[in-house]
Amino acid sequence: MSLNDILSHIRLQTETGQQFEKKLLKLTIDRLMRNKENLNG
């Protein structure tokens, strides 16, 4: 699956796209919790 395919799945909110979104959200939260990323307001 290419990057364009992934983005297309996300835009169309297919089941695959929603899974990618969920994993990316989980990644961000995981990094915030392990202090690997900061939120700058």
Binding site: I6, K26, L27, K36
Partner: protein
């Protein structure tokens, strides 16, 4: 001579190259003088695997599996080759290390009830990116790599999860998709059996 059984589905259309890569990488990690029994291609079926297990019974061994899986079994294009309904008694006093979707559920638990001392596997569906295959392969085998350096099972599990994080943290930008998959795989990892189990209990594997 200490024994290792290595089952891998190199013929799988989607992930065959990955499974073979994991198997080749594992062989490169074993530096001691072990006897390998390779099970792949047409031999990866329940009849052949059962025969191998019958022949090796009464010996300690390590079993490695790189293939598709389900909650109750390990499978390939020819169907299941090990399942909860197989005779798993030969796994008494052995160690089992696998990369297969879902097999960390009922299958792993049944192995442990059959006397297997330790099990590494995955409780959810896991994926890899084929253009980052070597990176995923090294993560897949990191736990056994640590055990081959003398760590017990629970320490190897912890280091394996930390390695997933470390590798994921070194990826950013467009590679966040890859990092997300690595952390998802970390969360799917499951270890069953004795926490203090060491490979040295079964032979001189390192």
């Amino acid at each position: 001579m200490d024994k290792i059984i290595l089952a891998y589905d190199e013929d799988d259309a989607d992930a065959g190259s990955y499974y073979k890569g994991c198997a080749d990488h594992l062989v490169s990690l074993i530096t001691s003088n072990c006897h390998f029994t390779f099970i792949s291609k047409r031999n990866l079926n329940f009849v052949y695997v059962d025969q191998v297990l019958t022949d090796i019974s009464e010996h300690n061994f390590l079993f490695f599996a790189y293939s598709h899986g389900e909650k109750h079994q390990l499978s390939c294009g020819l169907g299941h080759y090990l399942s909860c309904s197989s005779d798993l008694n030969p796994f008494n006093n052995t160690f089992f290390y696998s990369y297969a979707c879902l097999a960390g559920n009922n299958f792993g638990e049944t192995l442990i009830r059959s006397g297997c001392q330790g099990f590494f596997g995955y409780k959810n569906v896991v994926n890899h990116y084929s253009n980052h295959e070597s990176l995923f392969i090294e993560c897949t085998n990191y736990g056994i790599k640590m055990m081959l350096q003398g760590d017990n099972a629970v320490t190897a599990e912890r280091k394996m999860k930390e390695n997933y994080e470390e590798v994921a943290d070194n990826l950013s930008g467009m590679l966040d998709f890859v990092a997300a998959e690595l952390l998802d795989t970390r969360d799917a990892l499951i270890r069953l059996g004795r926490e203090d189990f060491k490979l040295s209990e079964l032979g001189e594997y390192y």
